[in-house]
Structure formats: structure tokens, C-alpha cells
């Protein structure tokens, strides 16, 4: 489903601040793969997501999603196939627009609607939005005409998750999307994520700083360091792995200890 072949990106080339953020990253995700990514500070996890989503064009390498070459596609075109959630719950929704209007925008992603500029939200669509909101179990289905700015961070993140998956994307990118929420809300959003990914059989990449989630969620665990994927665990090899064992394997792969203050502080 997702193929990255030798993706490289260097920021500020030719200056003292030159930073090689991605170094020939190659990764193949099968349809329905759910991979968790962990790694050191500045390992290139978010940069990798930005390269896939098209926030910038990679310096070298090719990106293919479901057989389509994405390498030179602009960000907004990739967004038709890629759903994205960020750590900051404020980034995914328009605060001065109502819940219903936000969902209507997210629904634009379907090719069918792409040309229908002057169409309005129909009653069936409103009912569809209401049903989908009810699945979040947060009472948002009764607040559809309220501006999103009135919602809590957790509610906004759940809404963003719904918006990203309302039209099931080919790829879902989750960049520590529960990290800014309080523990109970984070748990709730994470379980919603599991439900939605399972329901639509989504192919999904998730950055996390929680080592337990990295092993418990999905079917693959990737570890990044210095712009490279240093460990790719799946299947038999991954089953029954403990956090201690994972850290030892990381040391073996990267040649140093995992250096991520968030991970160290989260236990």
C-alpha cells in the first residue's frame, strides 16, 4: 500500500545548521498494516510523516501509495488519500466553524464531491454525520451546530480522527495524536482509533512515545534513529517481546541507547 524507496531530506543544506533528517529511508507497508514508530529525539519520525504527506518534497527517493506515484504530488492532492492527525488537537479542526461544517469539509475528500463546488450539505449527509458522531460516544451528535472552538482538546481530537477517516483514506498517519491529552482522554481516543482502524481495515502509521503501545498496537513496530529505520519488527519476532528486550534490540541496531526524554519520563 505504501512504498518508500530511498527517501532523503536535508534541511538547511550547505550551512552550519545542515541537518540530515532522513537518510535513504526505505519502507514497504502492506494493505492493512498498522505500524507503530518509536525513536530518539530528532530521529526523523515527524519528518518522515511530512515527507509522506507532502509538506515538503523529498530531496531524493520515491513515494508510492496504492500504485500511484506520490513523489511530486502537492500536499493537498495527497490529502485525498492520506488522513493525518497531529499531536496538537487544535491543528485538525476549524474553530470558528460548526461541527457539521467541519465534517462537511472533511467529506469533500471524495472524488465524487471534488467537482461539486456549489453543492450544499444534504439531509442524508447530515444524518450520516450524526450517526458517525454518535459512534464517538461523546454526545457530539447533539452539538452539531456549535462551533468546534467550544469543544475540549479530547473532543476535538476525536472529531479530527472522525474527519480523517469519514471517507476511509488509503493511509492514516498518526503523529503522537494522544500525547497532548490527559491520560483518561488519551485512552479513550486511542481505543476509538483502534475501533476505526479495525472497522475500515486502514493501513496506518503511528508515532508514539509509549513503548507498551508500540508493542501492543498493530502488527509492526519500527524504530528510527538518525534519519533511518534501524529496527523493523513483525510477526513471530515481535510476538511476546518485552519493552526491555525492545530497548536492547534498539541498542544493537542503532549502536547507542534510546535517547528520548518523553519515553523515559512516561514510564
Amino acid at each position: 500500500m505504501l512504498k518508500l524507496d530511498g527517501i532523503s531530506k536535508t534541511f538547511y543544506p550547505g550551512t552550519v545548521n545542515e541537518k540530515r533528517a532522513l537518510n535513504r529511508v526505505t519502507l514497504h507497508l502492506e494493505r492493512g498494516d498498522f505500524a507503530a514508530i518509536v525513536g530518539s529525539n530528532g530521529a526523523g519520525k515527524s519528518t518522515l510523516f511530512n515527507a509522506i504527506a507532502g509538506v515538503f518534497f523529498a530531496d531524493a527517493g520515491a513515494i508510492t501509495v496504492d500504485g500511484t506515484d506520490f513523489t511530486f504530488l502537492p500536499e493537498y492532492r495527497r490529502s485525498r488519500q492520506i488522513g493525518r492527525l497531529f499531536q496538537d488537537p487544535m491543528r485538525g479542526t476549524a474553530p470558528n466553524m460548526t461541527i457539521e461544517e467541519n465534517l462537511a469539509l472533511a467529506y469533500l475528500r471524495t472524488a465524487k464531491h471534488q467537482t461539486a463546488f456549489f453543492s450544499r450539505v444534504s439531509r442524508e449527509e447530515k444524518n450520516f454525520f450524526r450517526d458517525q458522531l454518535a459512534l464517538l460516544d461523546m454526545g457530539l451528535e447533539d452539538r452539531m451546530r456549535q462551533p468546534v472552538g467550544l469543544l475540549s482538546g479530547g473532543q476535538r481530537q476525536a472529531l479530527t480522527l472522525l474527519m480523517a477517516t469519514l471517507v476511509p483514506p488509503k493511509l492514516l498517519l498518526l503523529d503522537e495524536h494522544t500525547a497532548a491529552l490527559d491520560p483518561a482522554t488519551a485512552e479513550k481516543v486511542l481505543s476509538l482509533t483502534k475501533d476505526i482502524v479495525a472497522r475500515h481495515k486502514l493501513t496506518c502509521l503511528m508515532i508514539t512515545h509509549n513503548m507498551h503501545s508500540a508493542l501492543a498496537l498493530g502488527n509492526r513496530t519500527l524504530m528510527m534513529d538518525a534519519g533511518q529505520i534501524v529496527l523493523d519488527l513483525k510477526g513471530e519476532e515481535r510476538r511476546g517481546l518485552t519493552v526491555e528486550e525492545l530497548l536492547r534490540r534498539f541498542r544493537a541496531g542503532a549502536g547507542k541507547d534510546l535517547d528520548n526524554d518523553r519515553i523515559l519520563l512516561s514510564e
Binding site: A53, G83, T93, A94, L105, L108, S119, A164
Partner: protein
Amino acid sequence: MLIVLQGALEQGFLYALVALALFLSYSILDIADLTTDGAFTLGCAVSATVCLAGHPVLALPMAVAAGAAAGFVTAFLQTKLGVPSILAGIITNFGLYSINMMVMGGANRPIGLKNQTVFTLAQGAGVLGGWAKLAVAAVIVLAAGGALVFFLGTRLGLSIRATGDNKDMVRASSINPVFTITVGLCVANALTALSGGLVAQYMKSSDINQGTGMVVIGLASLIIGQTLIGRGGMARCVAAVLLGSVIYQLFYVAALRFNVPGEYLKLIAAVIVAGAIAMPALKQWAGLQKRRHAARRHRGGER
């Protein structure tokens, strides 16, 4: 008195289109679009010139098209060529001066008594008597306002609103912000030029300085309306803009009535706009002073 009120209503409606344009560019897209002054004059120039050629009704869509083209230039400069948005408007505005001179073939172009305008056509129909001008202004502005409310409820309109609200989210929802900003600025400047086109026919003249300061007058109307009616749904916002414009023109006409020179009113408009936009900063400053004062008193008591 009734005549004064009627004049204020007529002008309030005509200039309301500028306030509507700024509602779209400033409030919704969050762009300070300084093309406004030039686009207004462009509307005046095109409308007067086409009127003189004997097509007062055709003059209005032509003014609209000219304004949209001006908006497109500003949008192109800022979205594709990386010119900062305020500067893009200033540059277009500056260039429009020459274009407006070219369109008018000089610094002004009076519409002769013999030439028809949409207002004289309505008066000629004779049904509405003295209210014909007001009726024309009201019908056009209410139609434009209604169309804008409808437009902002469509998917394209929602995309434009989201672009001003959260750009990150817009890109992640597969909307091209370059496209939405371009459409938004084209529509806004089309409205501004329509206002200019109507005003030229209403005043029976077009002048190179007719649009000067229009952006501040429009913002003042917008702010007056939003202060009085508040924000809410799109229909409410548009109604607020219309009311704000009428109130501003009432002030203007009343001031003229009391022999305040018209030029002084620009200062009042400037103060209204600067004051209203500065309000949050002033409130914060006042709050900080209060806390400092309280803290100082508290410390003084301990000593």
C-alpha cells in the same frame, strides 16, 4: 429630514458592498486586502465609461468582472509569487491607478445628463416615484448579500472559510489554499467594484480619487455592524455588515447636515477602525496595569 434619511439609506446600501467584500477578505480569509481602494475606483471607471457608451445595465457586470480581475492579480502575487499579502494589495492598488486613468481617459469622467443610469432607468419606469433609487440600491445589495450567504454555505464557501480559520487543517482536508484564496479575493474585489460601479452611476461621475480610503470606510462599517449585532451565523454577519454601513452613512450625512466638513469624517473613521482593532491589546494592557497597581499596594502594606 426624510430626504436626509433616504440619502443615507441609499448610500449606506451602495457602500455596504465594500463592507461585504471586506467581511469576506478581512473577517473570513483573514487577509488585509488593500486592493480595495483601487478596485472601487476601477468599478467607477468601468461603469462610467460603459454608461457613456449607452449601456448602464451592462456596465455593472463589466465592473464586477474588472474587480474580479484585480482581485485575481493580488491573489496571484501572494499565493504563487510569494509577495507578502499586504504588499500584494498595495502593488495592485498602485498599478490600478494607471489603469483607471486609461479606462477613464483622464482623471475623471462625468456621466452627462442625457446619459441613462440604472437609477434614472428605474425613475423613468415611474412606479416607485421618489423611492426608485433606494429600491435599486436595496434590491442589488440584498441580492448580493443573499448570494454571499448562500455561497458561504456551499462546499467552496466552506473551504474558503476554513482557509481563513485553520490553514493546516485545510491542506489536510485536500483543499488547495491557493485556489480558495484566489476565489475569495476575486469575489471580494468583484463586490467592491460593483459598489464603485453603482456609486459612479448614482453620483453621475467617476473620479480617480473616488476610492481613496474606501478600505477604512468599509472596515469601519464592518466593525460598527459587528459591534452592534455581534457575530454568529453567516446570515447574521451579513446583516450586521449592511446595518453597519447604513449607520456609518447616517453619521456621515448627519455630520454634513451640521456643517462638519466631509473631510473630517475620515479621521473619525480612522479612529473607529484603529480603536476597534486595538481593543484586545488595550484591554490586556489595562488588566496588567491593574494587577501591577494591586501588587504594589500589597507590597507597600507589608513594609
